[in-house]
């Protein structure tokens, strides 16, 4: 961690040395690619103001793979949208590659939960889309698109219509489309959460391979801890209402990692314990309260207690 990050809500930074800890120390000597400073965001709802994000500070280094993990409604997608430039923060700044971000841009391409491929274009034209916007000649962009389609093993389907692809294939096309633009970083907003377990397993491998080949900075949002441990160099745990960075973990395991690896499972369990309190909060909010204001007060004032979900229903 370099200084200058507001660490008041960063409770603990665990470096667990499993494999020499080389990667972590190396990553820290590199300049930060993304810097989020004191970002806050709230929405007005019927029940008053909802503080989605409160004073978020984080730094991501160049070529680093970082996951944001938190229970549903903790504002992790909102944070992602702010970094992408699709939403504006109420206060605070986001710096990407030394520039303060203003709006969305092709240096920070987002991959969404749904692939967001354009049905009026076939597969290869979807991959070419961003390049066409940049005014690259049709021959050159065809070559670039083919290169990245090859990286995600889908050259066979280059002329297919989008609806002919499976969910996993669509996400791979979306990854190829993002990479084809050669962005500074990839922002991935729960990209695999709508896929079945087998497909997700394959894509975890594929994404790790791609990341090792391209060395892109990746910010990956997920609610799946196992997924985060499998993919990330560092994991930020977000708390809920208001969304704050609760804890940071460094994962130092050799790559490519497998979801079912013992070490991955062990890390996941440890992180799960951290997250348990947050999940309890969400559960209590959603089950007890009939209004959200009341639940906000309860959640923030009362110390989380163990809830027996099974017996409570």
């Amino acid at each position: 961690m370099s200084e200058g990050v507001g660490v008041d809500n960063l409770i603990e930074l665990n470096y667990v040395e499993v494999d020499g800890g080389q990667r972590a120390s190396k990553a820290h000597s590199v300049k930060p690619d993304l810097r989020v400073q004191h970002v806050s965001k709230s929405f007005q709802s019927k029940n008053g103001t909802v503080y989605v994000l409160e004073d978020i500070n984080l730094e991501i280094n160049q070529g680093e793979f970082v996951c944001l993990v938190g229970p549903s409604g903790c504002g992790k997608s909102t944070l992602m949208n702010i970094v992408a430039g699709l939403e504006q923060a109420d206060s605070g700044d986001v710096w990407a590659n030394g520039r303060r971000i203003q709006g969305a841009g092709p240096d920070r391409v987002v991959i969404f939960q749904e692939a967001a491929l354009f049905p009026w274009l076939n597969v290869i034209k979807n991959v070419e889309f961003g390049l066409k916007l940049q005014g690259i000649s049709s021959r050159e962009r065809r070559n670039i698109a083919l290169e990245y389609l090859k990286m995600v093993h889908l050259t066979k389907f280059q002329n297919s219509h989008i609806h002919e692809l499976s969910g996993g294939m669509k996400q791979r096309v979306a990854i190829a489309r993002a990479l084809a633009m050669n962005p500074e970083m990839l922002l991935m907003d729960e990209p695999f959460s709508a896929l079945d377990a087998q497909t997700r397993w394959i894509l975890h491998y594929e994404l790790q391979n791609i990341w090792m080949k391209t060395k892109k900075t990746i910010l990956f949002v997920t609610h799946n801890i196992r997924e985060a441990v499998c993919l990330a160099d560092r994991i930020f745990i977000l708390s809920t209402s208001p969304g704050r960075i609760k804890k940071e973990f460094a994962i130092d395991l050799p790559r490519p990692r497998d979801d079912n690896d013992v070490n991955v499972a062990e890390y996941s369990t440890r992180i799960m314990q951290e997250l348990k309190a947050e999940i309890d909060k969400v559960v209590r909010c959603e089950m007890d309260a009939d209004s959200c204001v009341e639940c906000d007060i309860k959640c923030t004032s009362v110390e989380p207690v163990k809830t027996d979900i099974g017996g409570g229903i």
Partner: protein, 252 residues
């Protein structure tokens, strides 16, 4: 193929029934001409080119009027669909005007443009433009926000966002508006040509009436139907099919 056969049999039977009615002699020939005499009139019309010229003149008018309404309608629809201020103003004007049959514009049109092509082209334009604008508007409003967000993160801005994302994504609705606009335009064209004497198919039809030549009236009617079907088959149905296949709305 089987469907085609059914259609051929049906229309042959219909023509047979018509011929039968003619043979029964319930009405004089100037009221109900025989299919044979209508066929002869058609052949004569194509031979001396009077029908062909009529078709050409009408098609030219509709091409110009419809072409202009495409440009104006899509542009207006985009504005209404994307900007609140245009939705509240232009949008309400258009939905108001839609209740007005196009032919009601005839007196003003004559006054503004005179007894000529321009007046008819204006009618065609007014017939098509509203449907195209509303079609485009609903298309734009139905573009999934996800497409726009994805395009923005890939660097799409301003007019490129419209050209590369919003218009293609709205195309299924725009085509529906275009199709409806076409049929309104075609009706307005015929109404205009019936009332303004300046050649064209509608004028030929009126000429038939004035000469008490019902076989010409029916012949022109058949040509009008035929053109309507051809445009639908050769253009709209093909385009719609293409889009539905692309978007995966039907199994190809």
């Amino acid at each position: 193929m089987y469907g085609m056969l059914k259609r051929v049999i049906f229309f042959t039977l219909l023509a047979g029934l018509w011929q039968l009615l003619f043979w029964l002699g319930m009405w004089p020939e100037y009221v109900l001409p025989s299919p044979v005499s209508v066929g002869k009139t058609l052949a004569r019309g194509f031979h001396d080119q009077s029908l062909l010229i009529g078709v050409a003149i009408s098609m030219k008018r509709i091409a110009i009027g419809y072409g202009i309404s495409l440009g104006v309608g899509i542009f207006a629809g985009l504005l209404i669909g994307r900007f609140r201020i245009f939705e509240d103003t232009l949008g309400s004007l258009i939905s108001g005007l839609q209740t007005l049959p196009t032919i009601c514009w005839l007196p003003l049109s004559l006054l503004w443009f005179g007894l000529n092509d321009k007046a008819i082209i204006f009618l065609v334009f007014m017939g098509a433009v509203l449907s195209i604008a509303t079609g485009t508007d609903s298309g734009v409003k139905n573009v999934p926000p996800l497409y726009i967000r994805a395009a923005k993160t890939m660097g799409a801005k301003k007019w490129k966002l419209y050209l590369e994302v919003i218009i293609p994504a709205a195309l299924p609705h725009i085509i529906i508006g275009m199709k409806q606009g076409w049929s309104f335009a075609w009706r307005s064209l015929m109404a205009g040509e019936l009332l303004i004497v300046c050649l064209g198919l509608g004028h030929l039809l009126m000429l038939g009436r004035e000469l008490n030549d019902m076989s010409q009236v029916i012949a022109v009617m058949l040509v009008i139907i035929l053109i309507g079907i051809l445009v639908d088959r050769l253009f709209f149905i093909k385009v719609e099919r293409h889009i539905r296949e692309r978007w995966g709305l039907i199994k190809s």
